[in-house]
Symmetry: C2
Subunit: 218 residues, 2 copies
């Protein structure tokens, strides 16, 4: 168990990707799969797949491969997804609304149990069946729904104010979509979602291909 | 130049993060910075910072460190961000609207030049100053605005239809927010944004901490 303390974050991200690939393989009726097939399906090396899985013990049978269903459920359990995670969203603007309707969350066990906003005319309405509450009910609803995760989807200049409010509740993890670093007590983990990073990998590749072409033609 | 063919994607992602950290350091008036300071600021090892930068030649002076402004601009150039990237968004729903208002894009040189939707009542309106066009003007506007990047922000069942339409234009890179794999010709690069991966790193850590506590108390 202590071994998992040293698991790289990139491994966790890849496990998340592997599990989606395995779910798709299972839907297609595939029973066993090799590390090479997983590797090809998700675009990493077979050695990487084996190394990532080895953090969590021995899987699969040499020459036979992995049982798709078993491996899927094992990874789901590792990721803590063999349970439902009640979650709140702070901010009922466009981003909060889009996130409240994002089907991918429910699929993986994330259940939005409340949305919070400061605009009086939004309070009491529902987004995708979930009620919009005023910010002064934040701690009450989080406790009632046993939510441990909060998504911050407010403008940048409101992010720290919201983080401070969340720090007074039983929230333990924050996904921050606001383009601003937030400070929280040590017992809360923050993950910042930066929507531009993916764009910048695209531009690197586009710019590089152009450079390469110029280089080859020179 | 050919060396860059083998640069890991994780390095490009970290360069993007380093550049943001350097921009902030520059705003604070810091002139030189060590790899250790960059490493601490962004949460990786100093060796990783040096290795990432080494892909692109020699920087910095031993014992002195890097010039913040120089390194910032060098990375910006590597990422292809020393220019403006005209970009279109397909889908004027909640996610498309949220993305059209996302300040982080403009900051890094991404300029939204058109938003497309199939709903007749949305056509002609503006989001954050950018016109919403009907889908049948996709190729025309992309050519006129010289857009090379498109963001897909439509429901999952519309994603491939939109991808097929984009494949007929001069678009070279797609950022896909729809939770569905899309197929495009080889000359177009696709990046899928999966909003749940970050949540699953949180749940792994939350589930693991609980397990660790149980383990320590046993």
């Amino acid at each position: 168990m202590l071994k998992t303390l040293k698991i790289p974050e990139a491994t966790i991200m890849r496990l998340s990707v592997y599990s989606r690939f395995l779910a798709e393989a299972d839907r297609q009726g595939i029973v066993t799969i090799s590390s090479g097939e997983i590797a090809e399906g998700v675009g990493v090396s077979p050695a990487q797949v084996r190394k990532d899985l080895a953090y969590f013990g021995e899987f699969g049978t040499r020459g036979v491969g992995y049982n798709v269903k078993d491996l899927y459920w094992h990874i789901i359990k590792i990721l803590g997804l063999n349970t439902t995670w009640p979650m709140v969203i702070i901010g009922a603007g466009n981003l909060g609304t889009a996130l409240s309707m994002y089907g991918g969350f429910r699929e993986r066990g994330f259940k939005i149990v409340g949305i919070f906003d400061i605009a009086p005319h939004k309070i009491g309405y529902r987004l995708n069946g979930v009620e919009i509450y005023s910010m002064d009910r934040l701690a009450e609803i989080i406790e009632r729904e046993k939510a441990q995760i909060a998504i911050i989807a407010v403008p940048a200049d409101q992010a720290q104010i919201v983080a401070d409010e969340l720090a007074k509740t039983s929230i333990r993890g924050i996904l921050n979509f606001a383009p601003r670093v937030i400070n929280v007590p040590d017992h809360i983990e923050v993950r910042n979602v930066d929507l531009t990073v993916n764009l910048e990998i695209l531009t690197f590749n586009l710019a590089f291909r152009k450079n390469l072409k110029a280089y080859q033609e020179a």
